[in-house]
Every structure is written in C-alpha cells, then in structure tokens.
C-alpha cells in the first residue's frame, strides 16, 4: 500500500454557478407563485415574465456548471472515486424521483380503494352515500363525480399501447448504445443513441395526440374532470415532463458523442442519462398497468 501512488479526490474551487442557480430558483418560485395567483384572481401581472427569466437563468446555469464539470472530467482531474460519487449521487436522486411518483400513485390507489367506494356508501359510510349524494355510484374509472361532472375513461389499447412499445424499445436501444460505447464501436453507438432519441420524441408526440384526444369533445377528459382526470393527467403529465427531460439529456449525450466525448471506461454522464431513461421507462410501465389497464 505504501508504495502505491495516491489516487486523488478532486475538490473543486469556489464557483459562482450555485448562487446563480439559487437566484434562478428564487425567480422561478416567485414568478410561478405570482403567475398562478394572478390567474386565479383573473388579474394580469408580470409573474410570467419572472418565471421565464428564472427558467432562462437555470438553463444558463446548467450550461456553465456542466461545462465546468465536463472540462474537469476531460482534463482527467476525476479519479475513480469521484466517478463513484457522481454515480451514487445520481442513483439516489433517481430514488427520490421514485418517491415523488409514489405520492401520486398513492393518491390514485387511495382514491380507488377507499375514497370513491366510501363516497358510494361502502364500509361504515352508508349515510355519506345516502345523505350527501344519493345519486352517486362508485365505479372506476370515475366517469361521473358526486357533483355530477361527466367524463370518459381512457382505454389502454391504441395510443397507450403504442407508447408502451415505443418506450420499452427505447430502453433496449439505450442499453445497446451503452454496450456499443463500452466496446468502442462509435458508429453503432451513434446509431443506437440516435434511435433512442427518436423513439423518445415519437413517444412525446403520441402523448400529445392522446391529450388532444382526451380534451376533444367526444371524450371530455380534462384535468378538472374529478379524481379520475386529476390522477390521469397528473401522473401522465409528470411522466411526460420526465420523458422530455430525459430526451433532452439524451440529445446532449448525442451531441457529445459526435464531439468525440466519452471513453469505454469514463462516461458517467452517458450512464446517468441512460439510468434516467430506464427510470422513466419503469414509471411508464407502472402507469400503463395502474392508470390504463386496471
């Protein structure tokens, strides 16, 4: 051990990016809060502009910050241990995202197994059913709420099924891209990664179609259509936002691949993006089962 050369742990210098990021989050929060408050009070204000400024600043911060990190990584400052820190950090971040989705899945399951049946008079709630909303029948999808809003359930065949196939395939292509990277086959890497991005974009397109379909007059499935519409749009919406983010990450990776970044041993950023991609894929499978099929 004593003769072994020390590996190094890189402790970065002072950086102004975090404080830029803090100001950006502040602007986003203040902007968004003002914006929604103004919408609700039917007033017009400048919240939206603050929000946009905040988002722009976050993007600027990300460019700057990641640029620093990429340069440090390319100049070989990062040891194996540093790489581990990044990997573990990313995996626990994904875990926290899982818990975020868990809250919404929890709401869905609670509504289906408890709230809606109880409203229909189940358990010790017979009087709720009779006194409050005698007309109400408990069912899922809840196509008629206690206060009488009507809507239609979204089936699982058609677009959702296509989307499932698209995303599952993209997980496989992302894996192939990773294998190609590790085997130093740059051509294949570009092909598989490009295909993954294309599949992601196709998914997003179909998701948009599906929303348009839902909001059309035949279905009348809105975000405001009672607990069924709420859980449907919040779950698929947050998932869609994550797919968007994941696609952006993959596009950035694609650009970096074309610039010749990453080696078979050193490609944390690529790995992180692909983990993230597998994560949105798994969430989709859960969605497909609990939101669409069951």
């Amino acid at each position: 051990m004593t003769t072994k050369k020390y590996e190094t742990y890189y402790v970065p210098a002072q950086s102004h990016w975090p404080i830029v990021g803090a100001v950006a989050l502040f602007l986003i929060a203040v902007g968004a809060a003002n914006y929604v408050t103004d919408i609700k009070n039917a007033e017009s204000g400048f919240g939206g502009y603050i929000l946009i400024a905040g988002i722009a600043l976050v993007i600027y911060m990300m460019f700057g910050w990641f640029n620093n990190v990429i340069n440090e990584s390319m100049s070989g400052k990062y040891s194996h241990q540093m790489d581990n820190s990044f990997r573990q950090g990313m995996s626990w971040f994904i875990f926290s995202e899982v818990m975020f989705f868990a809250a919404f899945f929890g709401a869905l399951l609670y509504a289906r197994t408890f709230a809606v049946p109880w409203l229909g008079g189940d358990g010790n709630n017979a009087m709720t059913g009779q006194v409050l909303w005698p007309e109400f029948t408990a069912q899922w999808p809840l196509i008629k709420t206690p206060d009488g809003t009507e809507t239609t359930g979204m089936g699982w065949y058609g677009l959702p099924l296509i989307n499932t196939i698209l995303l599952l395939t993209s997980s496989v292509t992302a894996h192939f891209a990773h294998v190609a990277l590790e085997q130093e086959k740059r051509g294949l890497l570009k092909f598989w990664l490009g295909l993954t991005v294309a599949l992601g974009l196709a998914f997003l397109y179909c998701q948009g179609l599906e929303y348009a379909h839902g909001y059309a007059d035949e279905m009348k499935l809105y975000l405001t259509s009672g607990i069924y519409g709420n859980t449907f749009y919040m779950l698929t919406g947050f998932h869609g936002m994550h797919v968007t983010l994941g696609t952006i990450m993959l596009i950035v990776m694609l650009i970096r691949v074309f610039k010749g970044h990453f080696t078979p041993k050193n490609h944390f950023a690529f790995q992180a993006a692909s983990w993230y991609w597998h994560f949105v894929d798994v969430v989709w499978v859960m969605l497909f089962v609990f939101v669409y099929i069951l």
Binding site: Y9, V11, S15, A22, V23, F26, T145
Partner: protein, 530 residues
C-alpha cells in the same frame, strides 16, 4: 484505496488556504466548513425569527380574551412559527452539523459534491424570504397551520397558498440535495479502514436521517403539488365533490410528516451519543444496538403516520394497526435511553455545559416520549387530540430534545470550530435559564391539554388563565435566554482562552486529531484507522 485530495483554486498558487475574501468567500464557497457555518448561522437567525413569532403567540395568550390581534393574524403566527422552526431552524442546524463534522469524523477531505453543497444551502434563504414576504402581502401569510390541512389551505385559504407551496418546494430541493451529499460522502469517502461499524454513532444517525429525507421530502413535494392544483387548477384530490378526499391529504402529509419528526430527532440522538461518553469517560454502551435501534426507528417511522389521524374516522383495523405500530417505536427508543443511562452508570462524570444539556436532553426527551406513548393509545388520543397536550408533547421532544441537542453539540464543538473556549459562566447561565424557563413554558401545557384547552385558538376559557400566564412568562424567559447563547457564541468567536486540539479529555474521534480551530482543509491525505 488511498486518496489524496486535490483542491482546485482560481488563484493557482501554492498558498494553502485559498479562500476568497469578503462576501464572495461565502457566496462561492465549496468548503464544507464554510457551508456548515452558513447553515448554522442561518438556522440560528431563523430560530430568532420563529422565536419572535412565538413571543407574539404567547403575548396574545397571556390573558384570556382577544388582546392584541385578530384571530386570523394569530393563525398566521402559529403557522409560520411552526414552518420556520421545523424547516428553517432545526433541520438546517443539523445539516450544519453534518457539514462540519461528517468529513472530519470519517477522515474525508470535504463533502463528496461540494458545489451542490453550496447550492443546497443558498437556496434556503430565498425560500424563507418568499415565505416571510407573504406577511407583507394583501393576503397575509399562510394561516392554515404548519400541517396545512386541505381544505383550509385550498378552498378556504387566504390566497398565499402558491407562495407557500413554492417556498416548500425549494426547501425540499435543498433537503434532498443535502441528504444526497451526506449519503454519498459517507458511502464513498470514509478513510481506508473505517468500516461502517467503526463509524462514530453520530455519522450513523445522520446517514439514516439522510435516507429518511430522500424518501419523504419528495412525498411532501407531491402533496404540496396536489394542493397547488386543487387550489389553482381545479383538480379535486382533496375534495369529495370530485371524488377525492380531504382525509387523503392527511394520509399523504403524515406519510411525510411522521418520518419528518424522526429526521429532527435522530441527529439529536447522534449528538448526545457522542457527548455522553466523552464526559462519562466511558465507551458508548451498546454501540451496535444503538445502530440497530436507529435503523429500526427509521423503518418503523414509515408505518405509524396515521397516529396523527385517529379522530378522522378511519376503519377500526387502521386505528389498531397504527396504535400498535406506534407503541412499538417505544422499544428501540427505550433501548437508546437505556444505553445513555448505562453509559453514565459508574462513569467518572463531569458536568461541562455540553454534558448538562445532554443530561437534560435524556430526561426531558423521555418525558416527551412518555406523553407520545399516551397519545399513541387511540381511545386516549380521542380526548387529547388537538389540545395543548399535543403541543406539550411535541415541544418536549423538539425543544428540550432536538434544540437542546443542538445547544449541546454547539458547545461541544465550538472550541474545534473557533479555536477558543467559550465562557463557562455565561454558558452555564444559558443552560440554567433555558432549563428552568423551558419547563415553566411547556410543563403546564400538559395540564391545560388534559383539562381540554384546544390548540391554535387565540382565546380561552377563564379557568385556563393562571396556567397560561405562567406559560407565557416561561416563554418570554426562554426567548430571552437565547440571547445569552448569542452572546456566548459571539464572545467565543472573538476570542477567549485558546482551545487545545482536544479540549475534552474523554472525547474520541478523528475531529480531535486536528488542531483547534480546524484548518480550512483537513485530511487531504486520509488518516490511518486501526
């Protein structure tokens, strides 16, 4: 594997302490000690702000009848007081300890992800600026209690809900990043030879707490998001008319909320478990049982949340399940209290201020645990729920528990942080004033609650008048006592008797192997662990 830390520097000189000067040092810092200091000062300022709000509450309750303020403003005070103390004082203070001590205790050069560390601190002041700014808006500050039950916070809110929601989002982001940093640092940066079961218990408790944080802060983010869409975008998660359920809010909130209270007490266990052995001059009794007890408390904390909801009319099975699980937590908690007492048993004890606070912690936290056990029994809770008994319970565990451990830890490590000893006289004054006033403040609340005084009401029946007056006097005294603490800390930073590398003869741990004050960078090559 052996590692050496490479500190990058913008100045590119060989001079070692490359800190920047002035405000830039603090804004741009990537140093765990700087960031720890920032967290600790921020927490202390928030303690004073939250304390000022509490003084308002106690002034109103000094006498029966509406004395000083409108009921709505009273509600704003209690709400923001709770939010500030939980998210602004206790949690950041512990993160400050984590930042300062974990790298030094495990022999790491810094936290694993130093830039993210800076970010997770600096978003906090902004979050609290947003929260506090709502006091100056037309709507007024949030007035629905720190638990923000729907529909009080949705349908019946005063219009500040959006500001509250986004402030909470930022606090959550901060906590999650802080927790990821703690986990990665501990998993990845221990000095060679420091196995998990050789880590100081302090490190263990922060490790487990960080897991609780990344598991439940996202759930909090989820529930405030549903609240936001319910209030502003017409969803009905918490509205029965749309097929939702206001009780569902409570389930999701308390799924976060109960682990959250352990987030605020496990680090306290860690601090006290460090200090008691040092001043009893004995090894910590039952180290591995402490580790397992901490882990099982953390696990159990996920399956007891509905003990906050016994009166919501859950199915009988739910009431029983959550009652038994809650009582089960008393077992590992009992193990801990037993171990602390056993550590002191036949030790050669001395009573420096950190030890005084720790002993007070053991006794007073146990009182809080006992009142918790009473509340855990469903039929009894039907009576006590939403009375001052609950207020007494959680202030015993949070003030004489968490906050006292923070005081204890601060006194214990101040010599290491500043290089100077604190004033013995003043700090003892701080201890005794705090101890007496805190009991005057919170103990009578038990009786008020048992007699039926409801919480969160600005007025009360005449028979509660005497007790409330004493409680208020205790409150003002406790608030003032904290100014002594401020004086001690400032004096200690400015100067005083120089501290040795290891000012406490019974102390153990790597942090005492470096000089006092700890150099800006420590353990650039990892220490040897036997």
């Amino acid at each position: 594997m052996t590692t050496e830390a490479i500190h990058d520097s913008h100045e590119h000189d060989d001079h070692h302490d490359h800190k920047m000067t002035g405000i830039k040092r603090w804004l741009y810092t990537t140093n765990h000690k700087d960031i720890g200091t920032l967290y600790l000062w921020f927490a202390f300022i928030m303690l004073l702000v939250g304390g000022a709000l509490a003084m308002g509450i106690r002034a109103e309750l000094f006498q029966p009848g509406l004395q000083l303020m409108e009921p709505d403003f009273f509600n704003q005070l209690t709400t923001v007081h709770g939010l500030i103390m939980v998210f602004g004082a206790i949690m950041p203070a512990f993160t400050g300890f984590a930042n300062w001590m974990i790298p030094m205790m495990i022999g790491a050069p810094d936290m694993a992800l130093p830039r993210m560390n800076n970010w997770s601190f600096w978003i906090l002041p902004f979050a609290f600026a947003i929260l506090l700014s709502s006091f100056f808006m037309d709507s007024g500050a949030p007035n629905f209690g720190w638990t923000f039950y729907a529909p009080l916070s949705s349908t019946y809110s005063n219009g500040s809900t959006a500001f509250f929601v986004f402030a909470v989002h930022i606090m959550g982001v901060s906590s999650i990043m802080g927790a990821i940093n703690v986990i990665v640092t501990i998993m990845n940066m221990r000095a060679p030879g420091m196995t998990y079961m050789k880590m100081p218990l302090f490190v263990w408790t922060f490790f487990i707490t960080a897991y609780l944080l990344i598991a439940v802060m996202p759930v909090l983010a989820g529930v405030v998001t549903m609240l936001l869409t319910d209030t502003y975008f017409g969803t009905s998660f918490f509205d029965a008319a749309g097929g939702g359920d206001p009780v569902m809010f409570q389930h999701i909130f308390w799924f976060f909320g109960h682990p959250e209270v352990y987030i605020m007490i496990l680090p306290a266990f860690g601090i006290v478990s460090t200090i008691i052995p040092a001043f009893a001059r004995k090894r910590l009794f039952g180290y591995s049982s402490m580790v397992y007890a901490t882990a099982s408390i953390a696990f159990l904390s996920f399956i007891v949340w509905a003990h906050h909801m016994f009166t919501t009319g859950m199915p009988l099975f739910g009431e029983l399940f959550f009652m038994y699980c809650t009582m089960l937590i008393a077992v590992p908690t009992g193990v801990k209290v037993f171990n602390w007492v056993a550590t002191m048993w036949r030790g050669s004890m001395s009573f420096e201020v950190p030890m005084l606070f720790s002993i007070a912690f053991v006794i007073l936290f146990t009182i809080g645990g006992f009142s918790g056990l009473m509340l855990a029994m469903t039929p009894i809770d039907f009576q006590y729920h939403d009375t001052y008994f609950v207020v007494a319970h959680f202030h015993y565990v949070l003030v004489t528990g968490s906050l006292f451990s923070i005081f204890a830890g601060t006194y214990y490590w101040l010599p290491k942080w500043t290089g100077n000893m604190y004033s013995d006289k003043l700090s003892k004054a701080h201890f005794w004033c705090s101890l007496i006033s805190v009991n005057l403040l919170f103990f009578p609340m038990h009786f008020l609650g048992l007699a039926g005084m409801p919480r969160r009401i600005p007025d009360y029946a005449l028979q509660f008048a005497d007790f409330n007056m004493w409680v208020s006097i205790g409150g003002f005294a406790f608030g003032l006592s904290q100014l002594i603490f401020l004086a001690v800390v400032i004096k200690c930073i400015k100067g005083g008797e120089k501290a040795e590398a290891k000012p406490w003869d019974g102390a153990e741990g790597l942090e005492w192997t470096v000089p006092s004050p700890a150099p800006y960078h420590t353990f650039e090559t990892p220490p040897k662990i036997d």
